[in-house]
Symmetry: none
Subunit: 140 residues, 4 copies
């Protein structure tokens, strides 16, 4: 559970936190039912204001990703993993589409794009490795 934020990043800090938590859930670093780090704890770790973390939590709650147990803390909801994965894949699909449209508009040939993608994939897939997909069994 190593979260980091970049305050001079353009994207809001609370959004970065949201994104990383969703990420962690999608990767099952955070699992349904598990307690999240507390607001104060996380705010210290990231050296941001507790309000900022709280805001991220509120958004996640409004999306049904997490659930707060009064006085105890915040846990990951049941269907959260699936939701997070789905969200992300949809987002990625959109972005792929967007980039491709842009690329085609800019006059690159389809073949060329395909080659670029293939080359990049090769160089990237080495460095990233597939940490990502443990079997998605989930109960409780």
């Amino acid at each position: 559970m190593l979260f980091t934020v970049d305050p001079s990043n353009g994207v809001a800090i609370y959004s970065q936190i949201v994104r990383q938590i969703k990420f962690a859930i999608a990767e099952q670093t955070l699992r349904p039912g598990q307690l999240l780090p507390s607001v104060r704890q996380l705010s210290q770790q990231l050296t941001v204001n507790p309000n900022t973390v709280a805001r991220a939590f509120q958004q996640l709650q409004s999306e049904g990703i997490i659930e707060t147990l009064r006085g105890q803390g915040v846990i990951v909801c049941k269907g959260a993993m699936q939701a997070c994965r789905k969200q992300r894949q949809q987002l990625i699909a959109e972005r792929i589409e967007g980039v491709l449209v842009e690329a085609l508009h800019s006059g690159i040939e389809a073949d060329e794009i395909e080659q670029i993608v293939r080359k990049k994939l090769k160089s990237l897939s080495g460095s990233i490795a597939t940490i990502a997909t443990p079997n998605p069994s989930e109960n409780s």
Copy 2:
């Protein structure tokens, strides 16, 4: 020269204008030496605040894409087309890389991504056609 903006788009309006002008230059709809529409004209056409258009022009000027000729108006700079194309292709390359990293992180296999890309390319390249690449002859 059909510009449009979406005020509820998240992207700043002036950025949308900048982007579209660069686009038009890259496509040679606007050619070096050509006069741009005036701030007032464009602001009416887009129904936005003249300040907003002016701001877009400022940015383009600061990037050396356009230049103001006192008493005449604003024209496209000489090297603008190359610059715009280059910017765009660089931007596209970055975005492709970004999307691919994200996609791999999210646990999609490289093969799968390649397939998605190929499929999308096929469906898109039909609808877009190659309006885009007139021969890029231009000096400087």
Copy 3:
């Protein structure tokens, strides 16, 4: 005496407990003089913090619904049933009024509300049956 709580319910757990005990008293599942389950027992049964149960008991005691007999435990007070029923009916009256005001404000016609109520009553009164009203003889 089947109590249950929902920690992710919005309503404070101790309030849920208070409510259910009052409920049980009103229904005469718990009768005056009868011993309540101990804090420890109840907290285990509900898998909540003993403090939470204790707090519920404190509130009930402060309302004069229950009383602690040193060394014996906690019992239901004499006038508790009437008090609980009265509280509840008052509460219900308030809530009915509240809902009706809200409904009228929202532009539903009085006739329409009446119909909704009638329909709901019909469908509900079947499923609920009248477990509820043993004769309310009791002294004090």
Copy 4:
């Protein structure tokens, strides 16, 4: 557009604001496309902190009720009226059901409830009058 809040009300101030704005939209006091009062303006009028108003606006935006135009302000979304009415009627239906269940459980007879409702409706509908439902034509 007379908004008021009660800080010692139990319900969060920002929620009260959200509720009243939805209300105003449902009643067409605020119409689609119309500009809402600005954050600062509203915060002064209600004598609350601008952040509190902003929070209300954010929630409304996340629900798709309003839309912010950068630098201009916040407007009511197209389908907002229908959404607000629907939300409210659903909420009321739930509350009616809840009250009725409670009432039946408490041993009041269905007939009796019906009478109570009818009586209350009569006394209330006089004082409230039907300000509420102008014809819901909406375009643009």
